[in-house]
Amino acid sequence: MKDTIIVFKKELKGILRDKRLLITITLIPLLFIPTLFYFVGQTSSSVKYEKITIAYKESSGFINLLKKNDVELLHIDDVNIAMKFDAWNVFVQEDDKQNEITVYINTKLDNFNVIKRRIDYYYSEYKNETIERNLKALKILPSKIYPKKIVIKDVTERKNRYSIVLSFLLPYLILIYLFSNAMGVGLDSIAGEKERGTLQLLLVNRIKRNSILFGKLFATMSVSLTGTVFSLIGIFIAVKMNFMNFESNINFIMKPDDFFFLSLLIISLSMFIVSILIFISTYSRTIKEGQGYVMPIYLLIIILGISSLTPGSSIAIQYAHWPFISSVTGMVKLLVGEYSLQDIFTAMVSNIVLASILIRLSAYFFNKESIIFRK
């Protein structure tokens, strides 16, 4: 343990001296994330509701209904001229004899899908109104014809829907931050020493391999966790200031117990992620080689992390006990406030056990000449 602390302190000192790294894990998330949220918020609010212009020749039931909606109506006398004219989005022509409404629309328009959806919506409104009117004329109650309506009510008390969205998004972001913040330092920790030739200097001293590995593991974890905490603070600032222009403020409250378990889960996940990097770093001859091994794992983690964004997805349910997925789903449950301690402990223990196995394997690599002196 003493040697682990010595290695940890030395590594941490080196990390703290690296100003570029410090700025990357502290200042950049604090500035970048709120700025990103602000611009996304500005962009989404600037996408204004676009009024559509509907041209018609003869006023009819459908056109009369459209008058009640927020559309611009344009009366046209000559249909042939109207077809060449582009001041409208849609041209509506009703044929009572054929009992048909023809809607002319240019499918090359950028907002074609939006216009089509709105025309479909107006038509279903027109259809319902017409049926109800006709039923009344036949003295039949609409309730006798229509099935019961579905009314969906939100039973969530503690959090509004934006908070729920954030509860699913945060674990994914935490997973990505933990990995990306640790990547550089983790790979440099051993592969970097191999490149510099200083690993031999360390190995020829009377220090146990596990002490070296754990010292480097904890130092890399410090970077990974610090970067993640600053990124979360960045998100917190952006959310508190409502940079995303949400309609209502996010009400994100966590009980102290939930927060405690969430912190433990994040720490154990960080330990697992960093041990993967240390393992790769031990095997790799150079940092560049290590990057080649890390990238596919990073992509896999992103894919697995996406399971948190789609709660109830087959991945999230079928592979709930898999590494990463168990932690991500555990975090989601903790953030939503509906979790079982057993699930959280299982995720934590599996992270720690897997990390220990990887560290043992790395220590084994340290004693393998074919790996340490691989050319």
Partner: protein, 240 residues
């Protein structure tokens, strides 16, 4: 005393077996400076890695002060210092911090460590640079720092693999002066080099190594007498 008894080290490379060390038999007495001379790829670095416990022999055994390099690695690591020309120090530490780090790893007490840092700083003329970041030091001072780190725990056996490689004349002279001081201090030194002048100036005994085999070993004067030449370089080229 260091004894290499029929030591062989085989590497497998692309279905080919390479004998980096082939039945090496050497005895290195205490307080000696022993030179290992040979061209690149002769097996010098592998021999030194075997003695310093970084590698295990494929066959044969190595004893360092009676300790086996395979079974008693930790005990040997306490009594040896190791330096190779491949080593490059990290830029964001000072020589003092690195000396402290390696001193603590070697279980040195704070007071002993401070005294030792003070002593080595003076010995290596690093007073001005001991608190300067490595990245800002000259190549010579970086090499001096490496020497300081490798001998911070005052080992009785010091292994130097090409300690003057890549250094300018003045820096190389400083390094050789330090090796001489350590020799006078009664340390056992193993020095690998392909510089005959350095070998002749520094070593008591020599071993010529080529293709993993010891081709001649003995006192410098005996070797010169045996081959009837005063020029060690000439003998070397005749041997390999």
């Amino acid at each position: 005393m260091i004894e290499l008894d029929n030591v062989t080290k085989i590497f497998k490379q692309k279905n080919k077996f390479i004998y980096a060390c082939d039945n090496i038999d050497i005895e290195i007495g205490e307080k000696q400076v022993f030179g290992i001379i040979g061209p690149n790829g002769a097996g010098k670095t592998t021999s030194l890695r075997l003695i310093s416990t970084l590698m295990n022999p494929s066959s044969g055994k190595i004893l360092v002060n009676g300790f086996n390099t395979v079974k008693d690695k930790m005990k040997i690591r306490e009594i040896i210092g190791f330096l190779t020309s491949e080593m490059r120090l990290p830029d964001n530490y000072t020589p003092r911090e690195l000396m402290k780090f390696f001193g603590k790893l070697n279980n040195m007490k704070n007071s002993d460590l401070s005294d030792r840092i003070e002593f080595l700083t003076n010995l290596l003329s690093l007073e001005e640079y001991v608190d300067v970041l490595i990245g800002k030091l000259s190549t010579g001072n970086k090499q001096k720092t490496l020497i300081a780190i490798s001998i911070i725990h005052n080992p009785s056996i010091i292994i130097f693999d090409e300690p003057t490689a890549g250094l300018d004349l003045s820096a190389a002279q400083s390094v050789l002066r330090i090796i001489n001081i350590m020799k006078d201090d009664g340390k056992t030194i193993i020095l690998s080099t392909h510089n005959m002048t350095i070998a002749e100036r520094m070593c008591d005994r020599l071993a010529f190594i080529n293709e993993g085999k010891i081709i001649k070993e003995g006192h410098i004067e005996d070797i010169k007498e045996l081959y009837g030449s005063k020029d060690l370089e000439e003998i070397y080229f005749n041997l390999i």
